[in-house]
Amino acid sequence: MSARTASRLPCVAELVDAVVIGAGAGGAPLAARLAQAGLSVVVFEAGRHWDPPREFATDERAQSPLFWNDERLSAGADPVAFGRNNSGTGVGGSTLHYTAYVPRAQADDFRLRTEFGVGADWPIEHAELAPYYDEIERVLGVSGPSPYPWGPPRTPYPLPPLPLNGAAQLMQRGCAALGICTSPAANAAPSRAYHRPGIGTAPACTNRGFCQAGCSTGAKGSMDVTYIPLAVAAVAEIRANTFVTGIETDASGRVTAVVAMRDGLEERQPCRALFLCAGAVETPRLMLLNRLGRGPVGRHFMAHAGLQLWGTFDEDARPFKGMPGGLISEDTHRPADADFAGGYLLQSIGVMPVTYASQVARGRGLWGQAMLDHMQGYNHVAGINILGECLPHPDNRVELSGELDARGLPKPRIHFSAGENEQRMTAHAERTMRAIWAAAGARDIWAFPRYAHTIGTCRMGWTEDDAVVDADGRAFGHPNLVLCDNSVFPSALSVNPALTIMALSLRTADRFLKGVH
């Protein structure tokens, strides 16, 4: 690694108001908002700017470049899978391969410590995010049920729900038999052609079912077809293929410039403010690499309890069609018989064949004729899974390892061991899901233990003793460094994080602009 001092590098770029690192759910809405307010904005994105209709294949292996494939070392008693399991690369970030499943967090999700005496409260309330949830749902074109059966009263979804696929119908059947309330889920894909305000008309979802390997039609509300075009229209520059390696600060802790590699060349971009939105592994990694931040940088890594339960049915389920997460139940948000803090949601899941076969290999250890025989039933397979709260623990963390990557930078090592709360919740969920799947008529039921999403490594709070950023995302010790992605979550929430990251992104931009003007 060459020495990277400011004096040795040519100053190729003019000073800009804001550099945003990461063009995903945390960075894109914020970049659009700042640019619309008249700030000069440059967005650095490590991956490519894809042309989905031309480049995205309906082929899982061909689509693997959408995942964050730089190696992460997974440690602890419950090592978390990375790659396709979470972070993304490319303009759009992980929204390029998210399922489009966008439930809102409920009000009590933000007050876990107050409610249960464990975990952490957020320094902001649900009511503050609600208008941003509304706005994001309108821009993305979210299809969902109105009224929504759970949580506080809310504005109707902009579009009616998407059609139910086989797995969703099976979950509906199993839950009905047990008296569990279900509903078509909220998904960020239009159920009919939809005008995205300020962007253009998005086509109706064609039920390709390939959301987790990239949407080729432009229907899915990923950042590359929503907030990135809004940012570009407001004259933000999107600098793709640009991998940030250095963040320069002055003696007072103010960020002065960002150093990055683009096409093999190092470049330096001076900025008035830096928004670090690289996700809950790369954000703390950049903080640690550049010795930035006070408080527990890298600590309190959380991953949602994500147990999946699979079964084989007599009916043809064709699990590759339709929205993967078609049906939802939040009856388990705060189960009456819980022996744990928090709760979880239930969802039906479709699955692409390579992903499913890989899980059969890892989860059941099937190989040889047994694997071939099992996969003969692929078209009859359907699943359900949970998305559950995870408590923060300081020993679950991101750290720099001694092993260097191709750029000469230390690879991140992530320690994760599920605590008693996660284990109890998972056991409760497995009992519930086995009952649902048995009632739906499944045979050969099997559970795939899993933890998903990366959360909470630079958490927000009130003081630097216990947090890395304040309620506005400002890093303690660095007046012009703002963090905005899942790393700032103080608690995991009992729902998928994407919508809340986007809502937080708009709020963070508004708070910043209020402070500037």
Partner: protein
């Protein structure tokens, strides 16, 4: 099928390049023999794409911290299969009959395999990684996808019949009920 999808599947049907680029000839032969037992169906090259990836030095975004880097893990893993084969049957892995090879693979999967390699590298984790990679390569192949009745690649017009027991004309009929 879209042009991008057709290109991806066509590339996979191309004949594999002869020989190994990263592994030695003997390591490659052991890997090919192991893959032939893990996914026993002729006509789908698994060892080639694994070796190609090792040569390119790419990965899928993560590995167990308990394992060494992939190149080293595969090298040591192939040596380990031979050590286990020698310990149980007194012959290298490639010279065993299929049933003997299965015995070796089961011992590695169960973490009970004899052999010096497995003292330093967790056998069960290595097996899991090998099996997952082999399985992903196998079921990405058009022949394997056809065999399980998968028709997802034919999605250019979209899917309208997506409910239980619903099927469009271009989809194959059910393999079993």
């Amino acid at each position: 099928m879209t042009a991008a999808t057709r290109d991806a599947l066509r590339a996979r049907l191309a004949p594999p390049p002869a020989g190994a680029r990263y592994l030695t000839g003997s390591e490659f032969a052991t890997l090919a023999a192991a893959c032939a037992r893990l996914l026993p169906r002729p006509g789908i090259d698994i060892a080639g794409p694994i070796d190609e990836r090792l040569a390119a030095g790419t990965c899928d975004g993560w590995r167990y911290d308990a394992l060494p880097p992939d190149r080293e893990a595969y090298r040591r893993g192939m040596a380990g299969l031979d050590q286990t084969a020698q310990a149980i049957f007194g012959a290298p892995f490639t010279q065993l009959a299929p049933a003997g090879q299965d015995t070796v693979l089961s011992a590695v999967q169960g973490g009970t395999a004899p052999g010096e390699t497995w003292q330093a590298m967790p056998a069960d984790r290595f097996f899991e990684e090998l099996l997952a990679e082999a399985t992903e390569i196998f079921f990405a192949h058009p022949l394997a996808q056809e065999a399980i009745g998968y028709a997802g690649m034919a999605d250019a017009p979209g899917w309208r019949r997506i409910g239980l027991d619903e099927r469009e004309d271009r989809e194959p009929a059910a393999l079993r009920g």
